[in-house]
């Protein structure tokens, strides 16, 4: 269900916005303001059962636990984030 070319490509480094009051609220707080890498492009997902209207295109963005929480973990976090929450670096 991708229409236009996606704004980000696999491998792009992106920053999650710290706040976006009119965006959909499902960007978890722990990831806001953090930098990650786009690893998946899902386009606009048509889900009339769950939503009014269609949300902006969706990406999977991977983060390092180390950078997000400041621990010495080598593990990673993959979070699904909509276009309007992301800015290019």
């Amino acid at each position: 269900m991708t229409d236009a070319a996606p704004a980000f490509r696999i491998g792009d480094r992106v920053r999650v916005k710290s706040a976006k009051l009119d965006g959909n609220p499902r960007t978890p707080p722990y990831i806001r303001g953090k930098v990650g890498v786009v690893t998946g492009i899902h386009g606009r997902i048509d889900n009339p059962v769950d939503h009014h209207g269609v949300y902006p295109p969706l990406y999977t963005v991977e983060f390092e636990v180390r950078e997000v929480f400041g621990t010495d973990s080598a593990d990673r976090l993959a979070v699904d984030i909509h276009d309007d929450w992301l800015e290019a670096l």
Partner: protein
């Protein structure tokens, strides 16, 4: 190493854990699934509290047929059957809530509405959960009483839907009979097919649920299915930190720990440590751990690695090695030996 803390397949060894699971589930379904719907319909005047009262008067709930034992002297003999009875009633409660998901007078409640009503986005709107406490016998008695009250409201609400013409009683009986078939067997079949059929696996990883149609698995309500493949380099695990999004139609009922604050908070902060501490799963240090947070419309499942010693196995046989936990990523698929040991345990009980 012995099995650690969480083994939902085992039969009732730990009464406390069973009671706690029912307490958590019951309050979850009441405050997150059912009552937000009632409030939503009332707000919009589709089914009001007064409609519900009238429906209750017109069709009183049948007694649940469960006699409540309050006599503390012989509680010990009766604990286990009483726990099983509340578990069964919880199952029925959950299924009957699902049957109320119908549009009324053009008002369809979408999942977003439910999230708003139940306070996912605004804690102010959350419905208070009932605190639990006391001895085990007291807690079971509380559950029995709560269940009766909760069933009564659900029954009245369902009747109000029937009176409003939103639910057809005959169709309701049919649906009731069929309810509850989503189970982790669907997820297991997908994994087993992917293990034997590389073309299917490719399609699964790139297209998700479109690939699954060929297995006659009902499409369900998933927005989109995401499959995270475990490899020699990465072990995947799924969580929903915001609420408890879960691929219900592929994996069946959500395990209680998946909804627990402990799991949802710890797994993202210390993935490897949480797998070890909560689930006894030691991921070797050369394998990276990747947590998928189900924050949007993608419902992630894990494609576990095929266990060794299964060369030449049929798809059906392979599917018996896939557990719900392995599909969430808090365990590996069973080895043939582990499966046989579990079967023996089951036969012995």
């Amino acid at each position: 190493m012995a099995d650690t803390i969480i083994r939902p397949h085992s039969h009732m060894q730990d009464f406390e854990a069973h009671v706690r699971a029912v307490e958590e589930d019951l309050e979850y379904y009441r405050t997150k699934r059912f009552e937000p719907r009632v409030i939503h319909f009332h707000r919009r005047g589709a089914i009001t509290f007064y409609d519900i009262l009238e429906a209750a008067a017109a069709a009183p709930a049948a007694s649940a047929g469960v006699q409540t034992v309050h006599d503390a002297d012989h509680v010990h003999d009766t604990l286990e059957p009483r726990i099983r009875a509340v578990e069964d009633r919880l199952d029925a409660y959950v299924k009957n809530i699902a049957l109320t998901g119908v549009p009324v007078r053009g008002n369809r409640m979408v999942i977003d509405d439910g999230r708003i009503e139940r306070g996912d986005y605004d804690p102010f709107l959350r419905i208070a959960k009932k605190p639990h406490g006391g001895t085990l016998a007291e807690r079971i008695a509380h559950l029995e009483e709560d269940m009766t009250r909760y069933e009564r409201l659900l029954h009245a609400f369902t009747q109000a839907l029937v009176i409003a013409g939103a639910l057809d009683p005959a169709a309701l009986d049919r649906q009731r009979a069929q309810a509850g078939e989503p189970s982790m067997r669907n997820g297991a079949r997908i994994v087993a097919r992917a293990w034997v059929d590389p073309t299917f696996k490719e399609a699964l990883l790139s297209k998700g649920r479109e690939a699954v149609r060929e297995l006659d698995i009902p499409p369900g309500r998933l927005g989109k299915m995401g499959v995270a493949e475990n490899t020699e380099a990465v072990h995947n695990v799924v969580v929903c930190t915001l609420c408890s999004c879960y691929p219900y139609d592929l994996l069946g009922d959500t395990p209680w720990w998946y909804k627990s604050e402990a799991y949802r908070q710890q797994i993202v902060r210390d993935p490897r440590g949480t797998l070890a501490q909560m689930f006894g799963l030691q991921v070797p240090s050369h394998i990276a751990v990747r947590v998928h947070d189900s924050t949007s419309d993608i419902r992630w499942i894990v494609l576990p690695r095929r266990p060794a010693g299964t060369e030449g196995w049929s798809e059906d046989e392979l599917a018996t090695l896939v557990t719900r936990e392995s599909l969430i990523g808090t365990a590996e698929a069973l080895s043939p030996g582990e499966r046989d040991a579990l079967r023996q345990l089951g036969a012995a009980e």
